[in-house]
Symmetry: C2
Subunit: 318 residues, 2 copies
Amino acid sequence: MRAKIIHFLKTAEGYISGEEISHHLKISRAGIWKYIQDLRDEGYDIVAVPHLGYRLVSSPDKLFPSEIQSGLGTKILGKDIRYFDSVASTMDVAFQLGMDGAPEGAVVCAENQTKGKGRRGRSWVSPKSKGIYMSVILRPPMVPADLTRVTLLSAVAVCEAVRKMYRLPVEIKWPNDLLIQKKKLAGILTELSAEMDRVRFVVIGIGINVNAALSQLPPHSTSIRNETGQKVSRADLMQEILRSLEAWYLVLGQEGFIPVIERWKQLSSTLGRQVRLIDPSGDVEGEAVDLDEYGGLVIRSDTGLMVKRISGDIVQLG
Amino acid sequence: MRAKIIHFLKTAEGYISGEEISHHLKISRAGIWKYIQDLRDEGYDIVAVPHLGYRLVSSPDKLFPSEIQSGLGTKILGKDIRYFDSVASTMDVAFQLGMDGAPEGAVVCAENQTKGKGRRGRSWVSPKSKGIYMSVILRPPMVPADLTRVTLLSAVAVCEAVRKMYRLPVEIKWPNDLLIQKKKLAGILTELSAEMDRVRFVVIGIGINVNAALSQLPPHSTSIRNETGQKVSRADLMQEILRSLEAWYLVLGQEGFIPVIERWKQLSSTLGRQVRLIDPSGDVEGEAVDLDEYGGLVIRSDTGLMVKRISGDIVQLG
Protein backbone atom coordinates (compact mmCIF):
# COMPACT_ATOMS: atom_id res chain seq x y z
CA MET A 1 0.00 0.00 0.00
CA ARG A 2 2.84 2.39 0.83
CA ALA A 3 4.38 1.62 -2.54
CA LYS A 4 1.06 2.33 -4.25
CA ILE A 5 0.64 5.68 -2.51
CA ILE A 6 4.20 6.65 -3.43
CA HIS A 7 3.48 5.63 -7.00
CA PHE A 8 0.33 7.84 -7.06
CA LEU A 9 2.27 10.79 -5.70
CA LYS A 10 5.12 10.30 -8.16
CA THR A 11 3.00 9.94 -11.23
CA ALA A 12 0.57 12.75 -10.37
CA GLU A 13 0.89 15.95 -12.39
CA GLY A 14 0.90 18.48 -9.62
CA TYR A 15 -1.48 17.84 -6.74
CA ILE A 16 -3.52 14.72 -6.19
CA SER A 17 -6.53 14.81 -3.90
CA GLY A 18 -6.95 12.50 -0.94
CA GLU A 19 -10.33 11.66 -2.38
CA GLU A 20 -8.84 10.35 -5.61
CA ILE A 21 -6.25 8.21 -3.83
CA SER A 22 -8.95 7.01 -1.46
CA HIS A 23 -11.17 6.04 -4.39
CA HIS A 24 -8.50 4.10 -6.25
CA LEU A 25 -6.90 2.32 -3.34
CA LYS A 26 -10.10 1.80 -1.37
CA ILE A 27 -8.81 3.09 1.93
CA SER A 28 -10.21 5.91 4.03
CA ARG A 29 -8.86 9.44 3.75
CA ALA A 30 -7.83 9.17 7.39
CA GLY A 31 -5.88 6.06 6.46
CA ILE A 32 -4.14 7.95 3.68
CA TRP A 33 -3.27 10.76 6.08
CA LYS A 34 -1.61 8.21 8.34
CA TYR A 35 0.49 6.83 5.48
CA ILE A 36 1.48 10.38 4.44
CA GLN A 37 2.63 11.07 7.99
CA ASP A 38 4.71 7.90 8.02
CA LEU A 39 6.29 8.80 4.70
CA ARG A 40 7.16 12.27 5.97
CA ASP A 41 8.77 10.69 9.02
CA GLU A 42 11.00 8.73 6.67
CA GLY A 43 12.13 11.82 4.82
CA TYR A 44 9.57 12.21 2.05
CA ASP A 45 8.80 15.89 1.54
CA ILE A 46 5.05 15.98 0.89
CA VAL A 47 3.03 19.20 0.91
CA ALA A 48 -0.68 19.12 1.64
CA VAL A 49 -2.89 22.03 0.50
CA PRO A 50 -6.60 22.24 1.37
CA HIS A 51 -8.88 21.66 -1.67
CA LEU A 52 -5.88 20.65 -3.82
CA GLY A 53 -4.49 17.61 -2.06
CA TYR A 54 -0.99 16.22 -1.78
CA ARG A 55 2.14 16.86 -3.78
CA LEU A 56 5.45 15.04 -3.51
CA VAL A 57 8.29 17.55 -3.51
CA SER A 58 11.13 15.09 -2.96
CA SER A 59 11.86 11.54 -1.91
CA PRO A 60 14.58 10.62 0.56
CA ASP A 61 17.71 9.16 -0.97
CA LYS A 62 17.06 5.71 0.48
CA LEU A 63 16.44 2.32 -1.06
CA PHE A 64 13.24 1.75 0.95
CA PRO A 65 11.28 -1.25 -0.29
CA SER A 66 8.18 0.85 -0.92
CA GLU A 67 10.27 3.30 -2.94
CA ILE A 68 11.70 0.48 -5.05
CA GLN A 69 8.39 -1.33 -5.43
CA SER A 70 6.53 1.80 -6.49
CA GLY A 71 5.97 1.44 -10.23
CA LEU A 72 8.45 -1.43 -10.46
CA GLY A 73 6.31 -3.58 -12.71
CA THR A 74 8.17 -6.88 -12.29
CA LYS A 75 6.50 -10.24 -11.85
CA ILE A 76 9.13 -12.15 -9.85
CA LEU A 77 11.92 -9.89 -8.64
CA GLY A 78 11.43 -7.51 -5.75
CA LYS A 79 8.06 -8.68 -4.44
CA ASP A 80 9.91 -9.30 -1.19
CA ILE A 81 12.60 -6.71 -0.38
CA ARG A 82 14.54 -6.80 2.90
CA TYR A 83 16.04 -3.40 3.56
CA PHE A 84 18.85 -2.71 6.03
CA ASP A 85 20.45 0.52 7.05
CA SER A 86 23.68 -1.36 7.63
CA VAL A 87 24.59 -5.00 7.29
CA ALA A 88 27.82 -7.01 7.25
CA SER A 89 27.14 -8.31 3.75
CA THR A 90 23.92 -8.55 1.77
CA MET A 91 25.25 -11.86 0.36
CA ASP A 92 25.37 -13.52 3.75
CA VAL A 93 21.90 -12.27 4.71
CA ALA A 94 20.46 -13.43 1.39
CA PHE A 95 22.18 -16.83 1.57
CA GLN A 96 20.70 -17.44 4.99
CA LEU A 97 17.28 -16.31 3.75
CA GLY A 98 17.65 -18.75 0.88
CA MET A 99 18.41 -21.52 3.37
CA ASP A 100 15.32 -20.53 5.33
CA GLY A 101 13.13 -20.83 2.25
CA ALA A 102 12.83 -17.24 0.98
CA PRO A 103 10.87 -17.10 -2.30
CA GLU A 104 12.42 -16.68 -5.72
CA GLY A 105 12.95 -13.01 -6.46
CA ALA A 106 13.51 -11.93 -2.87
CA VAL A 107 15.94 -9.03 -2.60
CA VAL A 108 18.24 -7.89 0.20
CA CYS A 109 19.58 -4.34 0.00
CA ALA A 110 21.45 -2.08 2.37
CA GLU A 111 22.59 1.50 2.56
CA ASN A 112 25.90 0.31 3.92
CA GLN A 113 27.93 -2.90 4.18
CA THR A 114 30.59 -3.28 6.84
CA LYS A 115 32.02 -6.43 5.22
CA GLY A 116 30.89 -6.14 1.62
CA LYS A 117 32.04 -9.16 -0.38
CA GLY A 118 33.94 -9.22 -3.63
CA ARG A 119 35.08 -12.24 -5.63
CA ARG A 120 37.42 -14.78 -4.10
CA GLY A 121 37.36 -13.48 -0.57
CA ARG A 122 37.99 -9.87 -1.55
CA SER A 123 36.00 -7.00 -0.12
CA TRP A 124 33.61 -4.55 -1.77
CA VAL A 125 33.95 -0.97 -0.55
CA SER A 126 30.44 0.26 0.22
CA PRO A 127 30.28 3.96 1.13
CA LYS A 128 27.02 4.62 2.92
CA SER A 129 24.05 5.51 0.70
CA LYS A 130 26.38 6.18 -2.21
CA GLY A 131 25.93 2.92 -4.05
CA ILE A 132 23.61 0.02 -4.64
CA TYR A 133 24.50 -3.02 -2.57
CA MET A 134 22.00 -5.76 -3.14
CA SER A 135 21.55 -9.48 -3.40
CA VAL A 136 18.79 -11.29 -5.28
CA ILE A 137 17.63 -14.85 -4.61
CA LEU A 138 16.68 -16.98 -7.61
CA ARG A 139 15.62 -20.60 -7.76
CA PRO A 140 16.31 -21.63 -11.35
CA PRO A 141 15.68 -25.23 -12.43
CA MET A 142 19.37 -25.87 -13.18
CA VAL A 143 22.33 -28.06 -12.35
CA PRO A 144 25.27 -26.56 -10.41
CA ALA A 145 27.42 -26.31 -13.54
CA ASP A 146 24.96 -23.73 -14.90
CA LEU A 147 25.90 -21.15 -12.27
CA THR A 148 28.26 -19.50 -14.74
CA ARG A 149 25.25 -18.82 -16.93
CA VAL A 150 23.55 -16.87 -14.18
CA THR A 151 26.77 -14.95 -13.57
CA LEU A 152 27.10 -13.88 -17.20
CA LEU A 153 23.39 -13.15 -17.43
CA SER A 154 23.63 -10.85 -14.42
CA ALA A 155 26.50 -8.94 -15.99
CA VAL A 156 24.46 -8.47 -19.17
CA ALA A 157 21.39 -7.31 -17.24
CA VAL A 158 23.23 -4.76 -15.11
CA CYS A 159 25.29 -3.50 -18.05
CA GLU A 160 22.15 -2.92 -20.10
CA ALA A 161 20.38 -1.18 -17.22
CA VAL A 162 23.26 1.28 -16.75
CA ARG A 163 23.55 1.90 -20.49
CA LYS A 164 19.82 2.52 -20.80
CA MET A 165 19.63 4.90 -17.84
CA TYR A 166 22.72 7.03 -18.47
CA ARG A 167 24.00 6.24 -21.97
CA LEU A 168 27.38 5.39 -20.51
CA PRO A 169 29.82 3.17 -22.47
CA VAL A 170 29.87 0.39 -19.87
CA GLU A 171 31.57 -2.85 -20.87
CA ILE A 172 31.81 -6.27 -19.29
CA LYS A 173 35.18 -7.69 -18.35
CA TRP A 174 35.06 -11.50 -18.13
CA PRO A 175 33.41 -12.87 -16.26
CA ASN A 176 31.45 -10.23 -14.42
CA ASP A 177 33.04 -6.82 -13.83
CA LEU A 178 31.51 -3.71 -15.34
CA LEU A 179 34.06 -1.18 -16.50
CA ILE A 180 34.00 2.27 -18.03
CA GLN A 181 37.28 2.91 -19.79
CA LYS A 182 39.07 0.33 -17.68
CA LYS A 183 37.75 1.75 -14.42
CA LYS A 184 35.51 -0.39 -12.26
CA LEU A 185 31.91 0.72 -11.98
CA ALA A 186 30.26 -2.42 -10.68
CA GLY A 187 30.94 -5.96 -9.59
CA ILE A 188 28.72 -9.00 -9.64
CA LEU A 189 28.96 -12.11 -7.51
CA THR A 190 27.00 -15.31 -7.58
CA GLU A 191 26.69 -17.90 -4.86
CA LEU A 192 25.02 -21.23 -4.94
CA SER A 193 23.36 -23.80 -2.76
CA ALA A 194 22.72 -27.03 -4.62
CA GLU A 195 22.19 -30.74 -4.59
CA MET A 196 24.18 -32.63 -7.17
CA ASP A 197 21.63 -32.36 -9.93
CA ARG A 198 19.43 -29.56 -8.70
CA VAL A 199 20.15 -25.98 -7.72
CA ARG A 200 18.35 -25.05 -4.53
CA PHE A 201 18.98 -21.34 -4.93
CA VAL A 202 21.38 -18.85 -6.40
CA VAL A 203 22.22 -15.51 -4.83
CA ILE A 204 23.25 -12.76 -7.23
CA GLY A 205 25.16 -9.95 -5.55
CA ILE A 206 25.38 -6.59 -7.28
CA GLY A 207 27.55 -3.73 -6.10
CA ILE A 208 27.48 -0.47 -8.06
CA ASN A 209 29.31 2.76 -7.42
CA VAL A 210 26.52 5.29 -7.98
CA ASN A 211 26.98 8.62 -6.23
CA ALA A 212 30.33 8.03 -4.56
CA ALA A 213 33.19 10.45 -5.05
CA LEU A 214 36.38 8.86 -6.34
CA SER A 215 38.01 9.59 -2.99
CA GLN A 216 35.54 7.17 -1.38
CA LEU A 217 36.43 4.33 -3.72
CA PRO A 218 39.42 2.04 -4.30
CA PRO A 219 41.94 2.95 -7.03
CA HIS A 220 40.91 2.31 -10.65
CA SER A 221 37.23 2.78 -9.77
CA THR A 222 34.62 5.12 -11.10
CA SER A 223 31.01 5.95 -10.26
CA ILE A 224 27.98 7.00 -12.22
CA ARG A 225 28.18 10.41 -10.61
CA ASN A 226 31.81 10.72 -11.65
CA GLU A 227 31.00 9.76 -15.23
CA THR A 228 27.82 11.77 -15.72
CA GLY A 229 28.82 14.74 -13.58
CA GLN A 230 25.61 14.59 -11.58
CA LYS A 231 24.02 12.83 -8.68
CA VAL A 232 21.47 10.26 -9.84
CA SER A 233 18.59 8.41 -8.19
CA ARG A 234 19.76 5.10 -6.79
CA ALA A 235 16.17 3.93 -6.50
CA ASP A 236 15.53 4.50 -10.21
CA LEU A 237 18.66 2.56 -11.11
CA MET A 238 17.84 -0.28 -8.75
CA GLN A 239 14.39 -0.55 -10.31
CA GLU A 240 15.85 -0.66 -13.80
CA ILE A 241 18.32 -3.36 -12.74
CA LEU A 242 15.55 -5.50 -11.28
CA ARG A 243 13.53 -5.12 -14.49
CA SER A 244 16.50 -5.93 -16.67
CA LEU A 245 17.51 -8.89 -14.54
CA GLU A 246 14.00 -10.29 -14.64
CA ALA A 247 13.74 -9.82 -18.39
CA TRP A 248 17.02 -11.67 -19.01
CA TYR A 249 16.13 -14.37 -16.49
CA LEU A 250 12.95 -15.02 -18.46
CA VAL A 251 14.97 -15.13 -21.69
CA LEU A 252 17.26 -17.74 -20.15
CA GLY A 253 14.30 -19.84 -19.03
CA GLN A 254 12.46 -19.61 -22.34
CA GLU A 255 15.17 -19.42 -24.98
CA GLY A 256 18.18 -20.84 -23.19
CA PHE A 257 21.72 -19.59 -22.83
CA ILE A 258 22.52 -18.68 -26.45
CA PRO A 259 20.82 -15.25 -26.56
CA VAL A 260 22.52 -14.41 -23.24
CA ILE A 261 25.94 -15.38 -24.49
CA GLU A 262 25.44 -13.49 -27.75
CA ARG A 263 24.52 -10.33 -25.88
CA TRP A 264 27.38 -10.85 -23.46
CA LYS A 265 29.81 -10.98 -26.39
CA GLN A 266 28.45 -7.71 -27.77
CA LEU A 267 28.82 -5.97 -24.41
CA SER A 268 32.19 -7.40 -23.49
CA SER A 269 35.55 -5.71 -23.76
CA THR A 270 37.42 -8.96 -23.18
CA LEU A 271 37.02 -10.89 -26.43
CA GLY A 272 39.55 -10.04 -29.10
CA ARG A 273 41.94 -8.63 -26.51
CA GLN A 274 45.34 -9.80 -25.40
CA VAL A 275 44.84 -10.95 -21.82
CA ARG A 276 46.58 -12.56 -18.92
CA LEU A 277 44.39 -14.93 -16.92
CA ILE A 278 45.62 -15.29 -13.37
CA ASP A 279 44.47 -18.38 -11.51
CA PRO A 280 45.78 -20.77 -8.84
CA SER A 281 45.56 -23.56 -11.42
CA GLY A 282 48.13 -21.69 -13.55
CA ASP A 283 48.28 -18.42 -15.50
CA VAL A 284 47.59 -18.19 -19.22
CA GLU A 285 48.54 -15.37 -21.57
CA GLY A 286 47.11 -14.98 -25.04
CA GLU A 287 44.16 -13.66 -27.02
CA ALA A 288 40.69 -14.09 -25.53
CA VAL A 289 38.88 -15.51 -28.53
CA ASP A 290 35.52 -16.87 -27.37
CA LEU A 291 33.20 -18.12 -24.66
CA ASP A 292 32.31 -21.80 -24.63
CA GLU A 293 28.77 -23.05 -24.08
CA TYR A 294 29.25 -23.06 -20.30
CA GLY A 295 30.52 -19.47 -20.22
CA GLY A 296 34.16 -20.47 -19.86
CA LEU A 297 36.74 -18.22 -21.52
CA VAL A 298 38.63 -19.63 -24.50
CA ILE A 299 42.16 -18.22 -24.83
CA ARG A 300 44.49 -18.78 -27.75
CA SER A 301 47.71 -18.89 -25.78
CA ASP A 302 50.92 -17.39 -27.07
CA THR A 303 52.22 -20.89 -27.66
CA GLY A 304 49.30 -21.47 -30.05
CA LEU A 305 47.39 -23.76 -27.69
CA MET A 306 43.65 -23.19 -27.16
CA VAL A 307 42.91 -23.07 -23.43
CA LYS A 308 39.49 -23.04 -21.74
CA ARG A 309 39.11 -21.61 -18.26
CA ILE A 310 36.05 -21.35 -16.08
CA SER A 311 37.64 -19.32 -13.28
CA GLY A 312 40.35 -16.73 -12.82
CA ASP A 313 41.10 -13.03 -12.97
CA ILE A 314 41.68 -11.30 -16.26
CA VAL A 315 44.22 -8.56 -16.86
CA GLN A 316 43.46 -6.97 -20.22
CA LEU A 317 46.79 -6.21 -21.83
CA GLY A 318 45.74 -4.95 -25.25
CA MET B 1 41.90 -40.46 24.73
CA ARG B 2 38.71 -42.52 24.84
CA ALA B 3 39.38 -43.67 21.27
CA LYS B 4 42.94 -44.61 22.24
CA ILE B 5 41.81 -46.64 25.25
CA ILE B 6 39.23 -48.43 23.10
CA HIS B 7 41.93 -49.12 20.56
CA PHE B 8 44.21 -50.62 23.24
CA LEU B 9 41.42 -52.81 24.50
CA LYS B 10 40.48 -53.96 21.02
CA THR B 11 43.98 -54.79 19.89
CA ALA B 12 45.06 -56.49 23.13
CA GLU B 13 45.41 -60.26 23.05
CA GLY B 14 43.50 -61.21 26.16
CA TYR B 15 43.97 -58.91 29.14
CA ILE B 16 45.85 -55.65 29.16
CA SER B 17 47.07 -54.22 32.44
CA GLY B 18 46.16 -50.77 33.68
CA GLU B 19 49.89 -50.23 34.11
CA GLU B 20 50.59 -50.84 30.44
CA ILE B 21 47.83 -48.49 29.28
CA SER B 22 48.96 -45.96 31.84
CA HIS B 23 52.53 -46.16 30.57
CA HIS B 24 51.65 -45.74 26.90
CA LEU B 25 49.02 -43.05 27.22
CA LYS B 26 50.69 -41.20 30.09
CA ILE B 27 47.64 -40.97 32.30
CA SER B 28 47.20 -42.23 35.84
CA ARG B 29 45.70 -45.62 36.55
CA ALA B 30 42.89 -43.85 38.40
CA GLY B 31 42.28 -41.85 35.23
CA ILE B 32 42.06 -45.05 33.23
CA TRP B 33 39.61 -46.48 35.73
CA LYS B 34 37.41 -43.43 35.21
CA TYR B 35 37.44 -43.89 31.41
CA ILE B 36 36.64 -47.59 31.81
CA GLN B 37 33.65 -46.70 33.98
CA ASP B 38 32.41 -44.22 31.37
CA LEU B 39 32.76 -46.81 28.63
CA ARG B 40 30.83 -49.36 30.67
CA ASP B 41 28.07 -46.79 31.17
CA GLU B 42 27.82 -46.51 27.40
CA GLY B 43 27.42 -50.22 26.94
CA TYR B 44 30.98 -51.50 26.58
CA ASP B 45 31.31 -54.84 28.37
CA ILE B 46 34.74 -54.67 30.00
CA VAL B 47 35.90 -57.16 32.61
CA ALA B 48 38.57 -56.22 35.14
CA VAL B 49 40.57 -58.95 36.89
CA PRO B 50 43.14 -58.17 39.62
CA HIS B 51 46.74 -58.79 38.47
CA LEU B 52 45.59 -59.36 34.88
CA GLY B 53 43.95 -56.09 33.94
CA TYR B 54 41.13 -55.25 31.55
CA ARG B 55 39.55 -57.20 28.76
CA LEU B 56 36.96 -55.97 26.28
CA VAL B 57 34.21 -58.55 25.91
CA SER B 58 31.95 -56.57 23.58
CA SER B 59 31.34 -53.09 22.26
CA PRO B 60 27.89 -51.51 22.04
CA ASP B 61 26.36 -51.43 18.59
CA LYS B 62 26.63 -47.65 18.36
CA LEU B 63 28.49 -45.31 16.02
CA PHE B 64 30.11 -43.41 18.90
CA PRO B 65 32.88 -41.08 17.71
CA SER B 66 35.46 -42.76 19.95
CA GLU B 67 34.47 -46.15 18.55
CA ILE B 68 34.87 -44.89 14.98
CA GLN B 69 38.09 -43.00 15.69
CA SER B 70 39.70 -45.96 17.46
CA GLY B 71 42.26 -47.30 14.97
CA LEU B 72 40.78 -45.27 12.12
CA GLY B 73 44.10 -44.14 10.71
CA THR B 74 42.86 -41.35 8.44
CA LYS B 75 44.50 -37.96 8.07
CA ILE B 76 41.54 -35.75 7.14
CA LEU B 77 38.24 -37.57 7.51
CA GLY B 78 36.70 -38.24 10.90
CA LYS B 79 38.94 -36.08 13.10
CA ASP B 80 35.73 -34.29 14.06
CA ILE B 81 32.68 -36.56 14.36
CA ARG B 82 29.31 -35.24 15.54
CA TYR B 83 27.19 -38.12 16.77
CA PHE B 84 23.43 -37.98 17.26
CA ASP B 85 21.04 -40.55 18.61
CA SER B 86 18.34 -39.13 16.35
CA VAL B 87 18.35 -36.26 13.92
CA ALA B 88 16.01 -35.01 11.19
CA SER B 89 18.68 -35.41 8.52
CA THR B 90 22.46 -35.65 8.81
CA MET B 91 22.63 -33.63 5.54
CA ASP B 92 20.93 -30.62 7.05
CA VAL B 93 23.07 -30.73 10.20
CA ALA B 94 26.25 -31.06 8.14
CA PHE B 95 25.26 -28.27 5.73
CA GLN B 96 24.70 -25.91 8.63
CA LEU B 97 28.01 -26.97 10.18
CA GLY B 98 29.66 -26.24 6.84
CA MET B 99 28.09 -22.77 6.85
CA ASP B 100 29.40 -22.26 10.37
CA GLY B 101 32.95 -23.11 9.29
CA ALA B 102 33.35 -26.78 10.25
CA PRO B 103 36.73 -28.15 9.10
CA GLU B 104 37.27 -30.36 6.09
CA GLY B 105 36.68 -33.99 7.00
CA ALA B 106 34.09 -33.32 9.70
CA VAL B 107 31.48 -36.08 9.90
CA VAL B 108 27.89 -36.11 11.13
CA CYS B 109 26.37 -39.49 11.92
CA ALA B 110 23.19 -40.62 13.61
CA GLU B 111 21.58 -43.82 14.78
CA ASN B 112 18.30 -42.65 13.34
CA GLN B 113 16.99 -40.05 10.91
CA THR B 114 13.39 -38.87 11.12
CA LYS B 115 13.58 -37.10 7.74
CA GLY B 116 16.45 -38.85 5.99
CA LYS B 117 17.04 -37.34 2.57
CA GLY B 118 17.27 -39.09 -0.76
CA ARG B 119 17.90 -37.60 -4.19
CA ARG B 120 15.50 -35.01 -5.60
CA GLY B 121 13.42 -34.48 -2.51
CA ARG B 122 12.89 -38.17 -1.85
CA SER B 123 13.30 -39.70 1.59
CA TRP B 124 15.79 -42.25 2.92
CA VAL B 125 14.30 -44.84 5.24
CA SER B 126 16.59 -45.02 8.28
CA PRO B 127 15.64 -47.80 10.73
CA LYS B 128 17.27 -47.05 14.07
CA SER B 129 20.78 -48.43 14.58
CA LYS B 130 20.33 -50.72 11.58
CA GLY B 131 22.22 -48.67 9.03
CA ILE B 132 24.90 -46.07 8.53
CA TYR B 133 23.50 -42.59 8.05
CA MET B 134 26.29 -40.11 7.75
CA SER B 135 27.38 -36.90 6.06
CA VAL B 136 30.95 -35.80 5.43
CA ILE B 137 32.09 -32.21 4.86
CA LEU B 138 34.83 -31.62 2.30
CA ARG B 139 36.34 -28.36 1.08
CA PRO B 140 37.89 -29.28 -2.25
CA PRO B 141 39.53 -26.56 -4.36
CA MET B 142 37.01 -26.89 -7.19
CA VAL B 143 34.46 -25.05 -9.26
CA PRO B 144 30.76 -25.89 -8.82
CA ALA B 145 30.65 -27.90 -12.05
CA ASP B 146 33.03 -30.41 -10.44
CA LEU B 147 30.41 -31.56 -7.92
CA THR B 148 29.57 -34.51 -10.16
CA ARG B 149 33.14 -35.69 -9.71
CA VAL B 150 32.74 -35.83 -5.95
CA THR B 151 29.48 -37.70 -6.41
CA LEU B 152 31.01 -40.39 -8.60
CA LEU B 153 34.09 -40.58 -6.38
CA SER B 154 31.90 -41.21 -3.36
CA ALA B 155 30.09 -44.03 -5.12
CA VAL B 156 33.43 -45.63 -5.98
CA ALA B 157 34.73 -45.27 -2.43
CA VAL B 158 31.66 -46.77 -0.77
CA CYS B 159 31.38 -49.54 -3.35
CA GLU B 160 35.01 -50.55 -2.77
CA ALA B 161 34.62 -50.45 1.02
CA VAL B 162 31.61 -52.79 0.92
CA ARG B 163 33.33 -55.13 -1.55
CA LYS B 164 36.47 -55.26 0.57
CA MET B 165 34.64 -55.92 3.84
CA TYR B 166 32.12 -58.52 2.70
CA ARG B 167 33.11 -59.69 -0.80
CA LEU B 168 29.64 -58.75 -2.03
CA PRO B 169 29.05 -58.11 -5.75
CA VAL B 170 28.02 -54.48 -5.29
CA GLU B 171 27.66 -52.39 -8.42
CA ILE B 172 27.12 -48.70 -9.07
CA LYS B 173 24.05 -47.52 -10.92
CA TRP B 174 24.61 -44.09 -12.49
CA PRO B 175 25.17 -41.78 -10.94
CA ASN B 176 25.33 -42.91 -7.34
CA ASP B 177 23.21 -45.84 -6.21
CA LEU B 178 24.79 -49.04 -4.97
CA LEU B 179 22.95 -52.17 -5.97
CA ILE B 180 23.31 -55.89 -5.40
CA GLN B 181 21.48 -57.77 -8.13
CA LYS B 182 19.25 -54.78 -8.84
CA LYS B 183 18.34 -54.31 -5.18
CA LYS B 184 19.33 -51.10 -3.46
CA LEU B 185 21.96 -51.37 -0.78
CA ALA B 186 23.11 -47.77 -0.44
CA GLY B 187 22.50 -44.29 -1.70
CA ILE B 188 24.80 -41.33 -1.95
CA LEU B 189 23.91 -37.66 -2.07
CA THR B 190 26.05 -34.61 -2.54
CA GLU B 191 25.23 -31.04 -1.69
CA LEU B 192 27.16 -27.90 -2.40
CA SER B 193 27.72 -24.40 -1.18
CA ALA B 194 29.75 -22.36 -3.63
CA GLU B 195 30.76 -19.05 -5.03
CA MET B 196 30.80 -18.92 -8.81
CA ASP B 197 34.37 -20.07 -9.21
CA ARG B 198 35.08 -21.60 -5.84
CA VAL B 199 33.40 -24.35 -3.88
CA ARG B 200 33.00 -23.41 -0.23
CA PHE B 201 32.14 -26.90 0.87
CA VAL B 202 30.59 -30.13 -0.29
CA VAL B 203 28.52 -32.42 1.89
CA ILE B 204 28.56 -36.09 0.95
CA GLY B 205 25.65 -38.04 2.37
CA ILE B 206 25.90 -41.80 2.62
CA GLY B 207 23.03 -44.07 3.61
CA ILE B 208 23.64 -47.82 3.82
CA ASN B 209 21.29 -50.62 4.77
CA VAL B 210 23.51 -52.67 7.08
CA ASN B 211 21.67 -54.83 9.61
CA ALA B 212 18.10 -54.01 8.67
CA ALA B 213 15.63 -56.76 7.90
CA LEU B 214 13.95 -56.48 4.50
CA SER B 215 10.67 -55.78 6.26
CA GLN B 216 12.19 -52.55 7.60
CA LEU B 217 13.20 -51.32 4.15
CA PRO B 218 11.38 -50.04 1.05
CA PRO B 219 10.67 -52.50 -1.79
CA HIS B 220 13.60 -53.47 -4.03
CA SER B 221 16.07 -52.91 -1.19
CA THR B 222 18.59 -55.18 0.41
CA SER B 223 20.96 -54.97 3.36
CA ILE B 224 24.38 -56.37 4.14
CA ARG B 225 22.82 -58.62 6.76
CA ASN B 226 20.34 -59.91 4.19
CA GLU B 227 23.12 -60.62 1.70
CA THR B 228 25.68 -62.13 4.05
CA GLY B 229 23.25 -63.86 6.38
CA GLN B 230 24.81 -62.32 9.45
CA LYS B 231 24.81 -59.17 11.52
CA VAL B 232 27.93 -57.08 10.89
CA SER B 233 29.69 -54.28 12.75
CA ARG B 234 28.47 -50.92 11.52
CA ALA B 235 31.45 -49.24 13.15
CA ASP B 236 33.92 -51.38 11.19
CA LEU B 237 32.13 -50.57 7.94
CA MET B 238 31.95 -46.87 8.71
CA GLN B 239 35.68 -46.85 9.37
CA GLU B 240 36.41 -48.61 6.09
CA ILE B 241 34.20 -46.14 4.22
CA LEU B 242 36.01 -43.18 5.76
CA ARG B 243 39.38 -44.70 4.81
CA SER B 244 38.25 -45.48 1.29
CA LEU B 245 36.69 -42.04 0.83
CA GLU B 246 39.85 -40.34 2.03
CA ALA B 247 42.04 -42.48 -0.22
CA TRP B 248 39.97 -41.64 -3.30
CA TYR B 249 39.74 -37.98 -2.34
CA LEU B 250 43.53 -37.87 -2.26
CA VAL B 251 43.66 -39.58 -5.65
CA LEU B 252 41.32 -36.94 -7.06
CA GLY B 253 43.47 -34.14 -5.66
CA GLN B 254 46.75 -35.61 -6.82
CA GLU B 255 45.94 -37.42 -10.05
CA GLY B 256 42.70 -35.80 -11.12
CA PHE B 257 39.41 -37.27 -12.22
CA ILE B 258 40.58 -39.86 -14.75
CA PRO B 259 41.52 -42.65 -12.29
CA VAL B 260 38.19 -42.09 -10.53
CA ILE B 261 36.19 -42.33 -13.71
CA GLU B 262 38.10 -45.43 -14.83
CA ARG B 263 37.36 -47.18 -11.54
CA TRP B 264 33.75 -46.01 -11.68
CA LYS B 265 33.37 -47.62 -15.09
CA GLN B 266 34.75 -50.92 -13.76
CA LEU B 267 32.33 -50.91 -10.84
CA SER B 268 29.28 -49.74 -12.71
CA SER B 269 26.41 -51.83 -13.94
CA THR B 270 25.05 -49.04 -16.11
CA LEU B 271 27.46 -48.85 -19.04
CA GLY B 272 26.72 -51.22 -21.88
CA ARG B 273 23.12 -51.58 -20.72
CA GLN B 274 19.88 -50.54 -22.37
CA VAL B 275 18.52 -47.78 -20.16
CA ARG B 276 15.74 -45.28 -19.87
CA LEU B 277 16.81 -41.95 -18.40
CA ILE B 278 13.92 -40.14 -16.77
CA ASP B 279 14.32 -36.42 -16.32
CA PRO B 280 12.15 -33.30 -16.29
CA SER B 281 14.16 -32.05 -19.27
CA GLY B 282 12.91 -35.05 -21.26
CA ASP B 283 13.38 -38.83 -21.18
CA VAL B 284 15.95 -40.67 -23.28
CA GLU B 285 16.01 -44.36 -24.10
CA GLY B 286 19.01 -46.13 -25.51
CA GLU B 287 22.33 -47.75 -24.67
CA ALA B 288 24.44 -46.17 -21.92
CA VAL B 289 27.80 -46.08 -23.67
CA ASP B 290 30.13 -43.85 -21.67
CA LEU B 291 30.75 -41.13 -19.09
CA ASP B 292 32.02 -37.79 -20.31
CA GLU B 293 34.84 -35.92 -18.60
CA TYR B 294 32.36 -34.20 -16.25
CA GLY B 295 30.73 -37.45 -15.19
CA GLY B 296 27.70 -36.98 -17.41
CA LEU B 297 26.13 -40.10 -18.91
CA VAL B 298 26.42 -40.57 -22.67
CA ILE B 299 23.49 -42.47 -24.17
CA ARG B 300 23.25 -43.69 -27.75
CA SER B 301 19.55 -43.18 -28.20
CA ASP B 302 17.39 -45.57 -30.14
CA THR B 303 17.18 -43.00 -32.91
CA GLY B 304 20.98 -43.18 -33.23
CA LEU B 305 21.63 -39.79 -31.62
CA MET B 306 24.31 -39.47 -28.94
CA VAL B 307 22.85 -37.70 -25.90
CA LYS B 308 24.73 -36.43 -22.83
CA ARG B 309 22.92 -35.97 -19.56
CA ILE B 310 24.20 -34.72 -16.25
CA SER B 311 21.05 -35.41 -14.23
CA GLY B 312 18.17 -37.84 -14.17
CA ASP B 313 17.08 -41.25 -12.96
CA ILE B 314 18.12 -44.39 -14.74
CA VAL B 315 15.94 -47.43 -15.27
CA GLN B 316 18.15 -50.28 -16.45
CA LEU B 317 16.17 -52.21 -19.02
CA GLY B 318 18.71 -54.77 -20.23
